[in-house]
């Protein structure tokens, strides 16, 4: 396959940055998207150029480290992580635009690498159970309805990759925040801190400078783990309940 890459090049956070074009003549359709970038980077290194910086770790679609905007779509055209996207999703002769996640809360570190520390601070604001629970208890001690367990697990599948922010026209991290609220809010262990959790996590979300949800659903469509949009409605429900109880 012949592919033309237009990648975002930015030396550091304060650099202006620009799109730079590269031609690749011999791309196999079996390559993953990141392998294609590896091949390009090997060539750039041999030519004495700076390779394109991008994040990746497990390359199995479970760690949430990788993620770029491909042709204007977070993680590209398939509903999966960038590492699990393969070149067979593209055609011979395609021009592929590659850009970093764009959000005021995700400053670009270099090229396609962004700082997602804002997500960590949202989790630190309450996305956990503060009681020490020891080792895993006997599973039948604490019955959880199957439906709740399934929904909680679905929300817990979030890998914090940040595609929801990149895809959201408002740069909102509501799906990420809501996934954690839903995950803990549906399980018995999450109940004591449920009201405080939603208020302080949403406050941190806003303090980080993320935008607001206008219920468009691009986040869910881009999410490689398929976190449902209804988690945001559950967050809103918890937030209304917490505010009604006077938690702030």
């Amino acid at each position: 396959m012949k592919i033309t890459i237009r990648a975002w090049r930015q030396a550091n956070t304060s650099d202006q940055g620009t799109m730079v074009g590269y031609e690749l003549d011999d791309v196999s359709e079996h390559m993953s998207f990141l392998e294609m970038l590896d091949v390009l980077n090997e060539r750039l290194t041999l030519e004495g150029e700076e390779p394109i910086a991008f994040d990746s770790d497990c390359r199995e679609g479970i760690c949430g480290m990788c993620g770029v905007v491909i042709n204007g779509l977070a993680h590209g055209p398939e509903r999966t992580t960038t590492c699990q996207l393969h070149m067979r999703s593209f055609n011979d002769g395609d021009v592929i635009d590659i850009e970093p996640w764009r959000s005021a809360s995700f400053p670009v570190v270099k090229d396609l690498v962004v700082d997602r520390g804002a997500f960590d601070r949202i989790i630190q604001a309450g996305g956990y159970i503060s009681a020490p629970t020891g080792s895993a208890p006997e599973a039948n001690n604490l019955p959880v309805p199957k439906e709740d367990a399934d929904r909680a697990f679905e929300a817990a599948a979030c890998i914090s990759c940040g595609a929801c922010v990149a895809a959201c026209p408002n740069g909102s991290a509501m799906l990420f925040t809501a996934a954690k609220i839903t995950h803990l809010g549906l399980l018995p262990q999450g109940q004591p801190e449920r009201a405080e959790r939603v208020v302080s996590m949403v406050e941190q979300h806003d303090a980080e400078g993320f935008g607001n949800c206008t219920n468009i659903g691009e986040c869910t469509a881009a999410c490689p783990k398929g976190i449902p949009l209804e988690t945001i409605s559950r967050l809103n429900r918890d937030l209304l309940g917490a505010l009604a109880k006077g938690k702030d």
């Binding site: 204007g72 935008g211 206008t214 881009a222 209804e230 409605s233």
Partner: protein, 216 residues
């Protein structure tokens, strides 16, 4: 946004019901209009209930616009990270599934706001009176919609209202925590389609009926 929006949706449904009385003739329509001013008497003064409704609506509009402006500024700050468009790629401008209704929500809202001012000057105060001014609400409506360009203007405005409500009613349900399952999502979408459809069509029936001479 959700609560103030739903208050206005409720008002629109009542307003639409009143409009359809135009088919009952001049006496019924003008009597209805007068009755709105005397409703609740003698407990309330003349036009008392009307003023209560006006104040509630004005508060809803102010809350709606204020929230929209504040949230839009925050959203712009969150996404405008470099000069030019957010993503330089010209492809997939509509993302994965962004709808026309969600795209036009903000500017559609501005158009609707300007239309409301025009509409009040036209049929409430009658300062703008194409086809002739009249003390009778029935005649005002007939005179206005005898002109093709007024029918066109109201049609454009009501299509904007329709798109706004298609996304707005759905979003209000989301914000108030009503979308908690796949079934709830489907029902909420159906409700949004139904409300926007009923309001758009219900409001457009009288102008077109008058224009084609089926009334009066």
């Amino acid at each position: 946004m959700a609560v103030s929006g739903l208050i206005m949706v409720g008002y629109l449904l009542l307003h639409m019901y009143g409009n359809l009385k135009v088919f009952s003739g001049q006496a019924a329509f003008d009597e209805y209009s007068h009755h709105l001013r005397t409703l609740g008497e003698p407990l309330l003064p003349y036009e008392g209930l009307l003023w209560i409704i006006r104040v509630v609506l004005l508060a809803a509009i102010i809350a709606h616009v204020y929230a929209a402006v504040v949230l839009t500024i925050r959203d712009r700050k969150a996404t405008r990270t470099s000069p030019g468009s957010r993503y330089k790629s010209k492809k997939n401008k509509r993302g994965f599934q962004r709808s026309y209704a969600s795209f036009t929500l903000r500017w559609g809202g501005v158009i609707i706001f300007l239309f409301i001012i025009f509409h009040l000057l036209n049929l409430t105060t009658n300062d703008i009176a194409p086809g002739g001014a009249s003390p009778s609400p029935y005649e005002r409506v007939l005179n206005t919609f005898g002109e093709w360009y007024m029918v066109l203007a109201y049609t454009v405005a009501l299509l904007a209202v329709g798109f706004h409500l298609r996304h707005g009613v759905w979003a209000a349900g989301m914000t108030l925590g009503a979308n908690t399952s796949a079934k709830a999502r489907r029902n909420l979408n159906l409700l949004a389609y139904a409300v926007s459809g009923i309001i758009t069509i219900g409001f457009l029936i009288p102008p077109f009926a008058i224009f084609f001479g089926w009334v009066g």
